[in-house]
Symmetry: C2
Subunit: 364 residues, 2 copies
């Protein structure tokens, strides 16, 4: 998507949609007429903090009620230049972690009286088209949890005063701000857990090769192992495509024929892949976890807590990350300048469950 303005966005043809179904919406003029006041008074009645006599406001609200009047936010946005809409661009809703992220953003934004415009983008695809669509709607801010973003898009947003925040990814060499879990640090935590449990040979199931998230977790994990004296050859890498099925078949492909090459411990770069690996190992290869192989994950999705898995994993503090992301957007202070280049990292936390034998304190 290198074109910009001239790209043929699939906008519904207004020619075929031009006919109106609406008879005549009731406007603030109608309310004004009924209440016997000016139209601007009606506007004030619906604007918190504007100067209007309480009695008059009551009268107006009363009239509005009678007419089932609802202010037209589209019209007011035209003058205020604020829509109270935030765009959320998501990848992979097949990963429950991102469903949780979505839920949290919706909760927060909804409570603030803001609306959410949701987009999804193919995993790994670029989000330029989505951004362009979002720009037309003059959103107050953009949250991007998916895929790639061209620097051109970043500056188009910023030029228009629309702040944009990356969630759990960053673009090296870009001035886009973002929040992410300390993925490398989390990878290290997992390495330490495995080491403490006595593992000496390892595999990691990696996700999207272009995703910094997967790379960072793998890097932290590997680095920590190397520091501990593990040989590079004792760390195998497997591609799991970030999905349950991908991990499931990748594990089978890697070990079914040669179960003797199985490592002591396998790190699923996210929980959903760790779960796929567990199922492949147990159901298809008849192995026991953690007796035959230890497994670790990353995210702490609700499913990883369930009985068939009881997955030891690195918990991402979603709520905190969401709050930090919203803070970067500073929707409440649009006058403040957009802050570029922020890269806020939030530490993850190891959650011990059943897939790695805990060395000392099982419950911690």
């Amino acid at each position: 998507m290198s074109e910009t303005a001239d790209l043929p966005l699939p906008v519904p043809d207004p020619a075929s949609a031009s006919a109106r179904r609406v008879q005549s919406r009731t406007t603030s003029f109608d309310v004004a007429a009924l209440a016997g006041v000016s139209q601007s008074a009606v506007s004030r009645a619906f604007t918190p903090g504007s100067s209007i006599a309480p009695a008059k406001r009551q009268r107006i609200l009363e009239a509005a009620r009678k007419l089932n009047y609802v202010p037209n936010s589209i019209a007011s946005s035209l003058t205020t230049k604020r829509t109270n809409i935030v765009a959320l661009i998501l990848g992979n809703l097949a990963n429950p972690f991102y469903v949780e992220v979505l839920r949290t953003f919706i909760d927060r934004l909804q409570a603030q009286g803001r609306q959410i415009l949701t987009f999804t983008v193919e995993n790994g695809a670029d989000s330029d088209e989505a951004i362009l669509r979002v720009l037309r709607y003059q959103v107050d801010g953009v949250v991007l949890t998916s895929a790639q973003l061209s620097t051109r898009m970043t500056s188009m947003c910023h030029d228009r005063g629309i702040p944009i925040v990356l969630f759990n990814r960053y673009i090296p060499g870009s001035d886009a701000s973002g929040v992410r879990c300390d993925n490398a640090g989390g990878g290290r935590l997992m390495a330490e857990a495995f080491l403490a449990a006595g593992a000496r040979s390892f595999a990691m199931i990696k996700g999207d090769p272009k995703g910094t998230t997967s790379q960072d977790r793998a890097r932290g994990f590997t680095e920590r192992l190397l520091e501990a004296g593990v040989a590079r050859s004792a760390i195998r890498e497997i591609e799991g495509a970030s999905t349950y099925d991908g991990a499931f078949s990748a594990v089978l492909a890697a070990y079914r024929r040669e179960p003797d090459r199985l490592p002591d411990a396998i790190f699923g770069i996210n929980d959903i892949m760790a779960m796929g690996a567990m199922d492949a190992l147990r159901q298809r290869m008849g192995l026991k976890i953690p007796q035959d192989v230890m497994i670790g994950g990353f995210d702490d999705i609700p499913e990883s807590r369930r009985h068939p898995y009881q997955l030891t994993t690195v918990r991402q503090p979603v709520e905190r990350m969401v709050d930090e992301a919203l803070a970067i957007l500073h929707l409440d202070e649009p006058a403040l300048p957009i802050e570029p280049g922020i890269d806020r990292q939030v530490p993850g936390r190891l959650v011990w469950r059943g897939t790695i034998p805990a060395p000392a304190l099982p419950g911690a």
Copy 2:
């Protein structure tokens, strides 16, 4: 939420947000000036199917590119009275089935060039406030998968020419249109599966008691069993709150102390509850499925296919249901009248997997 116009929606205070971050957006006038044409020519250049010389259009698009111009949809909506936005009001994203529904709606609408405004509503709460918020944004249509809806809201939408469609629920005695799975029929399918497998005593784990979905499935299930001569006393009802955890603990509460009262078969009114029940039964009570108890679910979420579950369930044809819902909205033909009172039912299909011994054809 009985008030209407005067309710204090948590709208961000414009007084504090009035300051502008935007310097001066580039408008169609700027593009017109650069291209040396009238402003309306610019508008036409961006409107598919409008009469403009191809050469001129190119020149305009070129100029737009240079200026990073993007048309302002908010402004155009003001005149066209179409926003190309559809509102999606969701309950429970904790149930993967609704995540799938969300994904499907997003896919479809995005491909049509439409935007999605997403809301969530507490399960069982009324959606009036969400509707009111949505109305302000003049959306082109509303999809409601959650909770209750007052008839007052239905008519407020319809009065404004905004079509609304209920997804997998209906409101008896209302003229709101909707699409749903044939839930009662699905319940019957499950009853038949259990009977065919030789079950003679039963339990159902029910969800939201106010939800028609849960009620209908339970009703169909029960009716079919009674028809087959099963005594009402051989059908137990358990409340599972529509969640994994709810079902998990409900099953434990019901049977842990008296495992001898266990029925031959348990019907989880949705998959997520069936999964909770399975885990409770197997991990906490040491039972084998289907040898000790058979289990059936409803929805066919991706998780139910996974190895630890292999759940026999009733599949809801999500894609088809979504398409039917969008057809009712007929977004492409806004001139056509809103169709009230449609109640489209789509049949479910039994998917045999491992939690009910298949009587004859295991793979079918």
